[in-house]
Symmetry: C2
Subunit: 430 residues, 2 copies
Amino acid sequence: MKEDKAHPLGVPGGGTWPSNDDASSASRSPTVTGLDRWLARTMLSLNGNPRIALVLWDGEEISGGGGPPVARARVHDRRTLVQMMRSPSVGFGDAYSTGLVEVPEHLVELLEEVYLGLMHAGAKWSRLQRLRASRTRGNTPSEARENIHHHYDLGNDFYRLWLDERMVYTCAYYEHPGQSLAEAQIAKMDHVCRKLELQSGQHVIEAGCGWGALAMHMAERYGVTVEAYNISRQQIEFARAQAHARGLENRVRFIEDDYRSIEGECDAFVSVGMLEHVGTERYGELGAVVERCLRPDGRGLIHSIGRSAPAPNDPWIEKRIFPGSYPPTLTEMGRIFEPYEFSILDVENLRLHYRETCRAWLDRFDAVADKVAEMYDMNFVRAWRLYLAGSTAAFAVGTLQLYQVVFAPRGTNRVPWTRHHLYQDSPRLD
Amino acid sequence: MKEDKAHPLGVPGGGTWPSNDDASSASRSPTVTGLDRWLARTMLSLNGNPRIALVLWDGEEISGGGGPPVARARVHDRRTLVQMMRSPSVGFGDAYSTGLVEVPEHLVELLEEVYLGLMHAGAKWSRLQRLRASRTRGNTPSEARENIHHHYDLGNDFYRLWLDERMVYTCAYYEHPGQSLAEAQIAKMDHVCRKLELQSGQHVIEAGCGWGALAMHMAERYGVTVEAYNISRQQIEFARAQAHARGLENRVRFIEDDYRSIEGECDAFVSVGMLEHVGTERYGELGAVVERCLRPDGRGLIHSIGRSAPAPNDPWIEKRIFPGSYPPTLTEMGRIFEPYEFSILDVENLRLHYRETCRAWLDRFDAVADKVAEMYDMNFVRAWRLYLAGSTAAFAVGTLQLYQVVFAPRGTNRVPWTRHHLYQDSPRLD
């Protein structure tokens, strides 16, 4: 492992990681004082007294209320404690990433406790937050390109280490107990295709296609042609190579461009895991793209991380992991649909499936942490572990939701009569 | 039949029907002039040139564009034409009700054409309407009681003539082709119960229970106890008599009170067809009732007529049929859920099922029109025919939607893993 090796894309967030000079030098920290204990207790209290313990640099434990701690976070020095107090999200996130806070075990459980504490204690506080929630974000085409580059162009080799073999980086669908991640990703793609009622010969437009797994799945299994858009160059290059290898070049076209540039007509419009990066103030533009492209009897599906009530994105996630991202409520998603009177046919919440998906990613990531450290450094490994553990926890306690929304242009009656067809073997070509 | 017999509750809307002195005296109308033709053409044009014909009092036909007319409306005199021009909804509605406009056949198809014309041509006009859409409505407890009395207390004998035997007055669920109205209403109740995952021994609170069919079905088939609220005295009396006859008094309690008075705790909160009468400015109060009553691991379902985009209620429906009613969008329904961070689990749109339901009601109503005229008068018969035909047409073309929204309190993970269980035989006691 190489500690402190420079990040190939620069430091996530474009800034510099905080120094961890003190990480291996607890001896330099002053003795724990009454003020330190007060700070630790106050921080736990402001976070709704989660059942966790802060272990201070002399080994002393400060616990939240309501039972024995489910996990412990070791804080290396006073400066880190003060940083966490001043900025719980970024302070904790950066301290964890640089090793100034350690959670030797039960990281997911610790984060679940913190999120639950905030959910129950922070009603007033979170209402204040909501006032800021829908602020304008930088998601012009060029800003979007930079934001997407930051995360999705980390390198195909990196994602290949811990995603499933098809490189699907969105919520899976664990249709049956005991399914593997790879099986659940295929089940998700089939679930989406059934919801879209794809018929052989139809044409599909996909906005934000990742590494192309869904586009190729639709073409191979459902006999459709697909135009799939993405602004991540590395993803597009991977997808094109895959399409070539699978002989799908005539049926799937991967286009390196922004969703706002989408042209042409389609029978189905699908977007899985892109909306999080669009920004609510651009939802009308996305709706206009769909209105322009989707045939009168067509069908649309938008799959997105979301929330039950508006809230700003987690500041550390925004700063270090997903700049420009925002998980919307269903009400906010209405800004896509209502101006064009799209008829919402079906909404399904797959929150617990995303908990399972993130947990599987976290396990796989942990298993290759050494290799990731070789590629980047330990700060990067810890940051990504925190991101994956935090996502697992957020879906587990309901801080985040996952919505699949199926819709149709206004006025069409070519809509499914019931949803029985989603729960039977779907017609496939193979 | 008794023409012009006084309505037992007074004239719907509390006003007076317009006179139909001229209905049988077309001879008194002046000759059709160029101005009349211009008026008729302009009215069709403003309505998006639907494929219908207006037959003027001398027999002359004025047609909308785009193909041969699918239906004809006979306008008895110039005054009626001017009324319809000045106020398309109330003018037409009242003229039809009093016989000053006649549609001898294809009434549903005529209304479908009008709604489609408005939908396609009236985009700008309807955006203007939306500005007015969410205006405050009179839905305080006492106003609500008056509004509900106006419609639901027309008399159990009246509704018994044309509803199914269980007196279910909400959208049915035609689970299989060829089902009767009665079968589809049972299927709807089972669909709702499966979505709520009712377990024997649980307690259910129902807000707005109509004649009690769902409450009794839940108790009989799913082994739950129910407290069901309604402010329509006639419906509550009918429901209590039914519960007595079926030996359910110990398991279903019918309470004549407003949803705002609901108390106690429940495992499931259900409301089918009440939200239309709540008024958007009261949705927060409804959310507070649910928050207060629903146990942390409970489940809720709200079933309501809705829209794809905000629009004011049809003025004639508001004036003559359902004072104080308003069909919300999903975004507007968010005002119930988001303040309390309820997690939306599932939304299903049953629009075409309501088209079938209304069509069945219309057929059954037409079959007993003579009896209804005996009870009330022909104006009442025509008004209700128009209301049922208009509802059929509105669900057919998508002016109205039907949403079933399933939700859970924030944070609970006792939610169904998939929706498979809705599409298999559900566990029942019998």
